[in-house]
């Protein structure tokens, strides 16, 4: 509340955001036209010319993998910048892109943000640099997430988050609970457990985690933005699947059978350690995260697939999180930037290091089929081969899920509608309509033509 500090910092922030468009509108030439065809000699020439490229990432100690690239191409220098993780990273990235200077050549980009950056023409299609041939090195859903509707390759997948269920085997055993294989069994278990011990919840439903909720919708077969293309925005949150998922969680929340704590807070970390939650519906990056976040519970956790909606159909999962390396269209060094993004995420040594040392769950089929990776028993999970289970789950993630071209706004509106209903334990299905209504209003305001079924 210091008047001097807060006013200045707010003014600076807005000023920085505003400085962009002037520069951009002043020179309509925009970024240099990207090459449409790159020959091997172009590549050889570019890679032997001393060049510096900037790489924005939040992955800790990624300099190890970057060093491998620089060994191979000693003339290219990669500067690693940590501009924050998630929202702060994207805010800075957008500001720099709009300003027309200061943007990196390569940036970490989560899957759900790719359309939010292609709508503003800020990503470079990597096909001319040979990325089109990389498709079969990656699991299908990861590759389809980085592919544009015209076959463009907007980014190279780095890690994924196929969804599973992490659970406390000690709590399950103490209360004689079976591992729920369907959502009906899951709801019944939630009731039994909470009745047996009102201090414990089968799971926590994070009310401000749009990415988690998107994964729940994805698994159920809801695909709210499917078919969106350019200025044509498709919105379907009234589908049977979306309503079913929301009804289900709304009931559990309203009856008080799940907790609704915001995640990644002190409260939540302590709850994970203290055994308030018996299960965490979480993706493949969660096991390594949890082993440090709740280290006091080592040995008590196990991993199972997500409960299913239809026990008779083939199992289905979805993805939450994971990210890519994308090349910005503003780069003046497209060849080194593109080759760097590709090397980092396809080179055998680099990807192995990313999986084993940065503990990023790999999207490459080579690693997912490598017994040395999948067969490693994890002590925290009582020696379970967790990586192998998630490798199987990877195969069950449908590959047609599409993100909106303004996903951060969609998530923000989620928290204020459906998430708030969960917290207040009111009817989330009504809030689902409100969520759709707000997204529609925003999309129209941004000039999209909104199509609803």
């Amino acid at each position: 509340m210091n008047p001097r500090l807060s006013r200045r910092s707010a003014a600076k922030g807005v000023a920085a955001a505003l400085a962009g468009p002037l520069a951009l509108s002043a020179c309509n030439s925009g970024p240099p036209a990207p090459p449409t065809h790159v020959t091997q000699s172009d590549i050889d020439k570019a890679m032997s010319t001393p060049t510096e490229i900037n790489f924005w990432t939040w992955v800790a100690n990624i300099d190890q993998e970057v060093a491998l690239f620089q060994e191979l191409y000693p003339d290219i220098t990669v500067n690693i910048v940590n501009a924050g993780q998630g929202a702060p990273h994207y805010a800075k990235l957008r500001t720099a892109l709009r300003a027309g200077n200061g943007a990196p050549d390569v940036a970490q980009l989560e899957f759900q943000m790719i359309p939010s950056f292609t709508i503003t023409d800020h990503l470079l299609d990597l096909r001319p640099f040979g990325a089109g041939d990389l498709a079969d090195q990656f699991v299908d859903f990861a590759w389809s997430q980085v592919s544009g509707e015209g076959g463009e390759v907007w980014a190279i997948p780095q890690d994924t988050g196929p969804m599973g269920m992490l659970y406390r085997t000690d709590i399950f055993e103490a209360h004689n609970l079976e591992i729920p294989e369907t959502w009906d069994e899951f709801a019944a278990a939630a009731r039994d457990l909470h009745e047996a011990d009102p201090e414990i919840f089968l799971t926590n439903l994070p009310p401000a985690q749009g990415g988690f909720y998107a994964a729940l919708l994805w698994q159920a077969g809801s695909n709210p933005f499917a078919g969106s293309s350019g200025g044509d925005f498709h919105l379907d949150l009234g589908s049977e699947e979306a309503v079913r998922v929301t009804r289900y969680w709304s009931d559990l929340a309203e009856e008080g059978l799940v907790s609704v704590d915001p995640d990644y807070t002190d409260q939540w970390y302590q709850a994970l350690n203290n055994g308030k939650y018996a299960a965490w519906l979480a993706p493949a990056w969660a096991p390594s995260f949890l082993s440090t976040a709740a280290s006091s519970t080592s040995g008590n956790w196990r991993v199972a697939p997500l409960p299913q909606w239809d026990a008779t159909a083939a199992p289905a999962s979805s993805n939450w999180g994971g990210s890519t390396s994308a090349v910005m269209s503003t780069t003046e060094n497209p060849i080194p930037a593109a080759l760097f993004a590709q090397f980092l995420n396809t080179d055998v040594e680099s990807t192995t290091k990313l999986a084993n040392e940065q503990l990023l769950y790999p999207p490459t089929t080579a690693l997912l089929e490598d017994p040395e990776f999948t067969g490693r028993p994890l002590e925290f999970y009582g020696g379970q081969e967790v990586n192998a289970l998630f490798a199987e789950i990877s195969e069950t993630v449908s590959d047609d899920f599409q993100w909106s071209p303004f996903q951060d706004q969609v998530y923000a509106e989620f928290t204020e509608t459906v998430g708030t209903a969960f917290t207040e334990r009111t009817d989330a299905v009504a809030a689902l309509e409100e969520w759709a209504e707000r997204i529609k209003e925003y999309a129209e305001f941004q000039g999209f033509t909104v199509r609803q079924p």
């Binding site: 707010a10 003014a11 807005v14 002037l22 302590q270 303004f406 204020e416 000039g447």
Partner: protein
């Protein structure tokens, strides 16, 4: 008549050097001020007259963004909320700061240096740290208040719930800024001429009477400064709710305070033009509020 002609004659003599030197002295400040404040402000004003869409590009819309802002319920509910915050928090904080300053000024309190430092220290703690600390204290299951309440078999109030959140924020700001205001008031008290106190004691006034009839009236200008700062600070509330939002994301929405709203419009919704207009409308509200306040108090002090 003579004075003016004298002045007119005197001007050319000193005039040639003085303005130039003066301008040179203020130039470094003016340059930075212009580059970092005036130019961005003018640019933001210009920018607020456009509307840029994700689809369809940029068009000139005149004052349309302002019309939208004046009819924007989210913005005005935020303004009303920080208005409430001001009424709730500022009087308490200033009264406490005044009491501390008066007590320390009597010299009666032992260890007055230690006490002065102790009251001021929270201001030296960065607001971000203070908010994180209080966020931990407020924790609903594992925070100290909850633990203590649990020991007595009751539940602590839900500090992070929708009903108490504004009070919880006010408490953080109170904790942070009481010492700051106390120092301003204390410094002003030290500047009161000692003859006044001597005259008062000759007249037989005790400590209470001196405080009421001499100290508080002479603190008037300093209190005004504190109040103006507090008006601006309250209406620009940003850091505390922004940090608390991660603990109570469904309570502190994107438009909880007007500054938070402008920030989220720009950096989440990419509505940069509208965010600029909202910022100007907020500036106008603060300007009007501060001016109205000064106008009223000035008139009252004259009459």
């Amino acid at each position: 008549m003579t004075t003016t002609s004298n002045a007119a004659q005197a001007k050319p003599v000193t005039g040639r050097r003085r303005p130039l030197a003066g301008y040179l002295f203020v130039a470094p400040f003016m340059l930075v001020f212009a580059a970092m404040f005036v130019v961005p402000l003018l640019y933001a004003a210009y920018f607020s007259l456009f509307r840029e869409q994700l689809v369809g590009g940029t068009i000139f819309v005149g004052f349309e963004n302002y019309a939208r802002a004046f009819g924007d319920a989210e913005l005005w509910s935020g303004v009303a909320r920080v208005g409430m915050f001001f009424l709730l928090q500022v009087p308490l904080m200033l009264v406490a700061a005044l009491v501390f300053a008066l007590v320390l000024d009597t010299g009666l309190a032992r260890l007055s240096r230690v006490a002065r430092l102790g009251i001021f220290v929270p201001y030296a703690v960065p607001g971000v740290i203070a908010t994180l600390m209080w966020g931990f204290l407020y924790g609903p299951d594992f925070g100290p208040f909850a633990q203590i309440a649990d020991m007595f078999g009751t539940a602590a109030p839900d500090f992070l719930g929708p009903n108490l959140m504004l009070g919880s924020l006010a408490n953080i700001v109170f904790w942070e800024f009481t010492g700051y205001n106390m120092v301003i008031l204390f410094a002003a008290l030290r500047a009161v001429p000692t003859e006044l106190y001597e005259a008062a004691s000759v007249d037989g006034a005790g400590q209470w009477r001196t405080a009421w009839s001499i100290k508080i009236p002479s603190l008037r200008p300093a209190l005004m400064v504190c109040l103006i700062f507090s008006i601006i600070g309250a209406f620009q509330l940003f850091n505390e709710p922004n940090l608390m939002a991660s603990l109570a994301p469904t309570v502190i929405d994107s438009a909880y305070t007007p500054n938070l709203y402008a920030y989220n419009l720009a950096f989440v919704g990419q509505e940069y033009n509208y965010a600029a207009a909202v910022s100007f409308v907020l500036g106008l509200v603060i300007l009007t509020g501060s001016y109205a306040f000064m106008f009223v108090t000035n008139r009252r002090s004259r009459s």
